[in-house]
């Protein structure tokens, strides 16, 4: 019996914005090998501080670089050890568990070929798979799909779902048909966005600044007092930091909770689609909010909340995927990294290299892949950024080739043109 894909109601589509885009074919080559691979791409927009997510605690220059604001194995809160050299942000217990189980690989000092510092342009390069911004109307994921020979549409009626959809992100735009699905919940305006707007108003319109500030404070008080309804009981994420649950009454929402919920719900829903026998096999989601210029809060603030939300999203994929988790790779990437040092406002500015994650049951994990560039003054790019030593395209090419079975020639020509220097990295997945 053919199960119909959830066709989003018109209203959902019109009102929503966070969107999963997916390809509903089974790649023929992989199928011939008796595999049914799933690939989910997370784009983290805003530039994730890779050093705050995965810290080189074993680097003798680390403490000097970040001081108290850097992760350490001593804490507080204590970073989660990965190997002798790297440690994971304590907000990510699920990723740590997956890493220990051999289902997560961390790539460090990685970057796309983009070397400037504009978000839009950086995202453009990251998603287009080209070497310069504004050069393509299609994304690498779509071109990879277009090169695959499908073993038939997984759902003969699935094409119905292709027609609708609001705006497709660049990474999946292109010739291969994509369907879209919109999660029921919208990403809320981030606290950071409110801060930026407030800052803009302070410079241009004090009256509006005053109103926005007042509203924000009122909202905060309402939140503190649990006045905002409805207050749904939150399922405890596996292994939350113990002190957090102890310190807060059970019904009191933790800061950043809307974001956490949004991440987990959209990722979980995406996974449930990908898990279905008649569901899509390849999808992409994006999560915003990583541009931590001020008060970054790597261990107990904004970034910590974001990483926690990302951790929840990964856990939601794992559980939503069910048995298909064993055929899944979740690839997490961001447009560039951030400055190695903390800036004058306890944040970090736009940088270069950062981390990428490969998570999933089929990932050959438990490894941090890094040709570590070092953190000495002379090691840093322009004296400020972590120097990129791994080309993100090498990772992506490796995953596309070995997991999804994209043809190597297509990878070198249409998917990632001008990437000869970034040879597909082997051994990233168990095949």
């Amino acid at each position: 019996m053919a199960i119909k894909l959830h066709a989003p109601s018109r209203r959902e589509l019109l009102l929503s914005s966070g969107v999963l885009f997916a390809w509903t074919c089974v790649p023929k080559l992989a199928l011939a090998e008796g595999r049914d691979p799933r690939l989910l791409v997370f784009i983290l927009r805003g530039a994730l501080d890779g050093l705050a997510a995965v810290a080189p605690v074993g680097d003798p220059d680390w403490i000097r670089l970040r001081g108290n604001q850097g992760l350490s194995l001593q804490g507080p809160p204590a970073a989660l050890p990965l190997n002798g050299f790297f440690a994971l942000n304590p907000a990510m217990p699920n990723l740590h568990r997956m890493y220990k189980a051999g289902h997560a690989t961390i790539v460090h000092a990685v970057s796309s070929p983009y070397r400037d510092r504009s978000h839009f342009d950086g995202q453009d390069v990251l998603e287009s798979g080209l070497t310069r911004p504004g050069a393509s109307e299609s994304g690498w994921l779509n071109r990879a799909l277009a090169s695959l020979v499908p073993a038939g549409n997984v759902n003969p009626k699935g094409r119905e779902a292709f027609a609708v959809g609001p705006i497709t992100p660049l990474v999946v735009r292109g010739a291969a048909p994509v369907m879209s699905w919109t999660p029921p919940r919208l990403p809320p305006p981030t606290d950071d966005m409110v801060m930026r707007l407030l800052d803009l108003y302070r410079h241009t319109d004090p009256a509006l600044a005053h109103v926005l500030e007042e509203r924000r404070d009122l909202a905060a008080i309402a939140r503190e007092d649990g006045m905002l309804q409805p207050q749904r009981p939150q399922p405890h994420p596996p292994g939350p930091p113990a002190q957090q649950t102890q310190m807060r009454p059970p019904n009191r929402p933790v800061p950043g909770e809307a974001q956490r919920r949004y991440f987990a719900e959209s990722a979980g829903a995406a996974a449930k689609f990908l898990a279905r026998p008649d569901g899509p096999r390849i999808g992409a989601l994006s999560f915003d909010g990583w541009d931590t210029h001020a008060a970054e809060g790597a261990t107990n603030g904004r970034l910590s909340q974001l990483l926690g939300a990302l951790d929840g999203a990964l856990a939601a994929v794992e559980s939503g995927m069910g048995p298909a988790w064993n055929e899944t790779v979740v690839a997490v990437m961001t447009e560039f990294g951030r400055t190695a040092r903390i800036n004058g406002t306890d944040g970090t500015d736009h940088g270069t290299a950062t981390i990428a994650l490969l998570v999933g049951g089929t990932v050959r994990g438990g490894r941090v892949l890094a040709d570590w560039p070092g953190l000495k003054e002379s090691d840093l790019r322009d004296g400020r950024d972590l120097k990129p030593t791994t080309d993100l395209r090498a990772i992506l090419k490796g995953v596309l080739r070995d997991h999804v079975r994209v043809d190597e020639k297509a990878l070198a020509s249409t998917v990632f043109p001008d990437s000869a220097m970034a040879k597909a990295m082997g051994g990233l997945v168990t095949v």
Binding site: R11, M193, H203, V211
Partner: protein
């Protein structure tokens, strides 16, 4: 007007129109004021001629039939239940989808918004919105008629004469029902005698206080009462009437006979003409000219509008005998209307339309727009009181945080192919401050950049 034509073009679009779209700013730069004036040259510019939209009488009869039918179905189901004596039977399910009144409301709302979204500059449509709010009715009370009211009583006269609009409005079934005149009967009328009922002053009072003279302009309670007597019998045919149901009916049996004195004039006339004569005099009353001039200037220019501008509008209104096209021309030709700082916060509906025009984010379904307007406290055709929605900043400032939610939603639907930095030029052009440009350029994502633009003071104020 300033020395910078493209600045004037951007101002023209934001202050007098519904905001720029595509390359409107550069298109208008040759002659911004001329472009606005040109919109006034099409006498039927404000009309909506859509064969799918019913007129008020048709609506009344269709809704009557619809309700009868539903009643019959409900009745049959209840009878059915009683026959089967099944106490546990689930209550009959409501038919899915919006009922006929709401379908009509949605179709009217769509026509209303489409006009604003598609307008060249939107000046005429802004006038429609202004007058529609000045002479408001509310969907809370006359749900299916609100759109037809705007089409039938407001739009035909937006570039015509105030006295004609006044007569069309006050004799429109939606207004007669909204302000309770449909059942008002003179105590000495035949119906009043028979039923021992009398007048309802509501409409008479609001005509003088809100629609014409303005509050505290010297009319007395006796004037209100007498005027109510004058318009007693201004009613509608009952909707069950297959021929004329729902249409205006001067019911002589409900009309208070005899002469009445209103604002110092005695009206001997008989029947409907008596009321029409009072309305004409009210339209020509100097207090009305002052009232309208002040409101119009407040709406387009400033909460406390420049006195010279108000005076120019007042004089124009008097001199032209309430020619609303002349009044609009006077507004555009007044230097004060252009020179005033951009202090007015766009009302929610204006801002939503401007947002859709600037970003191109638009859906065939009108409901997202309606929902957004509800959320921002300006539900379409549903003002909190006969006074209409407030037209001063203080009423709308608090909604700015909610606007961020909406800006964020819209921004996520903007095509990623649109560079937000280019969108600044489309939406604001030379009005954009360096700070806003920087905030847009530095935003972390395209959607955030677009949201910053839509939330910027330059885009919020006009």
């Amino acid at each position: 007007m300033s020395a910078n034509p493209s600045l004037d073009a951007a101002l023209a679009l934001h202050r007098f129109g519904f905001g720029p779209r595509n390359n409107a700013i550069s298109k208008l730069a040759a002659d911004p004021r001329g472009a606005l004036l040109a919109e006034l040259d099409h006498p039927g510019a404000a009309l909506i001629q859509d064969p799918n939209l019913l007129d008020t009488g048709e609506i009344a009869r269709a809704v009557f039939d619809f309700r009868q039918e539903r009643k019959a179905v409900r009745f049959a189901q209840q009878a059915d239940q009683m026959m089967t004596a099944n106490a546990n039977a689930t209550p009959p399910a409501k038919p899915p989808g919006p009922g006929l009144p709401q379908q009509i409301y949605l179709a009217e709302a769509k026509a209303h918004f489409d006009r604003a979204l598609d307008a060249e500059t939107g000046f005429v449509e802004r006038l429609v919105w202004f007058w529609s709010n000045h002479f408001c009715v509310s969907a809370d009370k006359v749900h299916p008629y609100v759109g037809a009211f705007e089409r039938e009583a407001i739009r035909p006269h937006v570039l015509g004469h105030f006295a004609d609009m006044l007569l069309a409005v006050e004799s429109h079934p939606a207004m007669l029902l909204y302000l309770d005149n449909a059942h008002s009967m003179g105590p000495d009328s035949i119906a009043g005698h028979n039923q021992h009922k009398g007048i309802n002053e509501n409409l008479a009072r609001e005509i003088m206080e809100l629609h014409t003279l303005g509050v505290r302009t010297g009319y007395s309670q006796a004037d209100v009462t007498n005027f109510a007597n004058v318009i007693s019998g201004w009613s509608i045919f009952p909707p069950r009437d297959q021929e004329n149901g729902g249409e205006f009916n001067f019911n002589a049996r409900m009309h208070e006979p005899g002469p009445q004195t209103v604002a110092g004039h005695t009206y001997a006339g008989m029947g409907f003409d008596q009321g029409a004569a009072v309305l004409l005099d009210l339209a020509r009353n100097p207090a009305t000219a002052k009232h309208i001039a002040t409101k119009l200037a407040r709406h387009f220019v400033a909460d406390d509008p420049p006195p010279q501008l108000v005076e120019a509008l007042r004089a124009s209104f008097v001199k032209s005998d309430g020619d609303l096209r002349e009044l609009a021309r006077t507004l555009l030709l007044s230097p004060e209307a252009w020179a005033a700082p951009r202090s007015k916060l766009k009302r929610p509906g204006e801002w939503l339309v401007a947002t859709a025009r600037a970003t191109g984010v638009r859906s065939p379904d009108v409901r997202p727009l309606l929902n957004a307007q509800n959320m921002l406290g300006e539900p379409l055709w549903r003002p909190p009181a006969p006074k209409g929605f407030d037209d001063v900043n203080a009423a709308w400032m608090d909604g700015i945080a909610q606007r961020l939610e909406i800006a964020n939603q819209v921004a996520h639907r903007v095509s990623p192919a649109d560079d937000p930095r280019a969108l600044v030029d489309t939406a604001l052009g030379p009005l954009a401050s360096a700070e806003t440009r920087q905030a847009v350029a530095r935003a972390e994502t395209r959607p955030e950049a677009v949201a910053m633009l839509l939330m910027s003071a330059e885009f919020q104020r006009r």
